[in-house]
């Protein structure tokens, strides 16, 4: 790339203050824009220039508190860009139309994706169950599944999973995998075997270059025994009614799709009356603040700690709202899925 970003930015390195610059392509579609109050101009202009290069810009303008400054920056970028031989043909109006089509397809994809995931948990006597699911703009590959098994005692089956990557490929593999995993759970002795079978089918027949992190669990409603098999997924949080520190249910094997055999261990814990288990996807812990910080596991634990005695719905809502506020004003970059299951205290 012939444009030296540092040289473009250098004259403005010491400048702070409010600045707003936008860049459009020939068809009038915004390629890059920013409006930063009191942010260092360097990062802003660098970002714009990089965006401009990627987008093949032909027109730009700038304005700020000091209009001359914005103009000067825009001119500087324009001059630098003019010096760069265009690597792409000039923007075509058809490209803009295509971009709008893709945007509309993505919106359809999100709607379809949501339709695969029922937010209404099944009837689970003696337990309080809540779930939150939010698809990212670019369509991700999260899914979860809560259903009662057709065997003695009708235990609750819990699945939470995340197809790696984003976009249509991830969403399609999600749509393919969810019923596969459901069927495997219905026809195997336990969660580990169900994940093993799903892996085998995906590896032998599907031949995708995507992976799935998946956690399958079975909850015996009468005893509160929670048996988990975890294929590379985030470990669930355990919130005990006795007030002890929030812990993780560790123990996992490789993610689905990477190896011919999983050999995923099964771990179990007993939910006492009042205990809560929280399952989530990496859309929670990998969420990023505008400053670039990750939400991380410790913020999740802190958030749950603040509502640990609330209902399952209150816990789920607290996590989703805190993650959302953490990312603002940005939209979630990845799907966010949260499931909380509390064993209700025995009636006295």
């Amino acid at each position: 790339m012939a444009l030296d970003l540092d040289a473009v930015v250098a004259p403005f390195r010491e400048v702070g203050g409010a600045l707003s610059v936008a860049i459009e392509d020939e068809a009038g579609m915004p390629v890059a824009s920013t409006s930063a109050d009191a942010a260092p101009a360097t990062a802003t202009v660098r970002g714009i220039a990089a965006g401009a290069l990627a987008g093949g810009v032909v027109r730009l303008w700038g304005n700020g508190v000091d209009g001359a400054l914005g103009g000067a920056i825009a001119e500087s970028i324009a001059a630098s860009l003019a010096a760069v031989p265009p690597s792409e043909p000039a923007a075509d109006p058809r490209v803009a139309a295509h971009a709008r089509l893709i945007e509309s397809e993505l919106a359809h994809g999100r709607t379809l994706q949501r339709s695969f995931v029922s937010l209404i948990p099944p009837e689970v006597p003696g337990y309080d169950v809540a779930a939150h699911y939010e698809a990212a703009r670019e369509v991700g590959g999260d899914f979860f599944d809560l259903f009662r098994l057709r065997r003695r005692g009708h235990p609750l089956s819990v699945v939470i999973a995340d197809v790696t990557g984003k976009g249509i490929a991830a969403a399609l593999l999600m749509a393919f995998s969810r019923p596969l995993l459901h069927a495997a759970i219905d026809h195997t002795a336990g969660p580990a075997e169900a994940l093993e079978r799903t892996n085998r089918i995906l590896v032998e027949e599907r031949r995708s270059s995507l992976f799935i992190t998946a956690l399958a669990a079975r909850l015996d409603l009468r005893t509160g025994r929670f048996r988990v098999a975890n294929a590379g997924h985030e470990p669930p949080l355990l919130v005990r009614a006795d007030g002890s520190p929030i812990g993780c249910l560790l123990g996992s094997g490789p993610l689905i799709g990477a190896f011919g055999r999983l050999d995923v261990p099964e771990v179990e814990t007993d939910l006492a009356p009042g205990d809560l288990i929280l399952l989530y996807t990496d859309g929670v812990t990998d969420a990023r603040s505008p400053a670039g910080e990750r939400f991380d596991e410790w913020r999740l634990i802190e958030t749950v700690q603040g509502v640990r005695d609330g209902t399952a719905q209150e816990v789920v809502a607290a996590v989703s709202e805190t993650v959302c506020a953490f990312q603002e004003p940005a939209e979630p970059a990845d799907d966010i899925t949260i499931v909380a299951i509390r064993r209700l205290p025995a009636r006295s």
């Binding site: 984003k166 031949r207 270059s209 294929a231 996992s252 993610l255 990477a258 990998d286």
Partner: protein
């Protein structure tokens, strides 16, 4: 959401390269690293050290990168519908030695362990040790 990729070569051996990752490997850039590895393979590189010392974060999509790079160094196209997975079956049991990881931070190591990808890789504490051993 930035990742800088630096490629170094070993003097006197054109089949070895080192990819150093600096920043965050996530869904926005995991494919570009795969492309980099494919380019190196086309140049004749058959053994690769991935220097993780400055990698601060790896999302699950980063695992696809590591996995794909192993397949590339084994001469397999990641999306080859007929051959893609077969190579990996042959990897079962033993760790492959053509792609090695160096100096992962604890956070990266935890992701590798949790997702079981640690069973694919020989991990060296230092970049130089990895280069010497490969």
């Amino acid at each position: 959401m930035s990742l800088e990729t630096t490629i170094d070569r070993v003097e006197g051996d054109e089949t070895i390269a080192i990819i150093a990752l600096d920043g965050e490997l996530d869904a926005s850039n995991f494919e570009s690293v795969i492309e980099t590895a494919r380019g190196l393979y086309d140049e004749g590189v058959r053994r690769l050290v991935i220097d993780l010392e400055k990698l601060r974060f790896m999302a699950s999509s980063g695992l696809v990168t590591l996995h794909s790079i192993v397949r590339i160094m084994h001469g397999e196209e990641p999306l080859d519908p007929e051959g893609g997975w077969a190579t990996l079956h042959s990897l079962e049991g033993d760790k492959q030695s053509e792609v090695r990881l160096a100096a992962p931070q604890p956070a990266i190591e935890r992701v590798l362990t949790r997702t079981g990808l640690d069973r694919m890789f020989i991990v060296h504490a230092y970049r130089d040790a990895a280069i010497a051993a490969i």
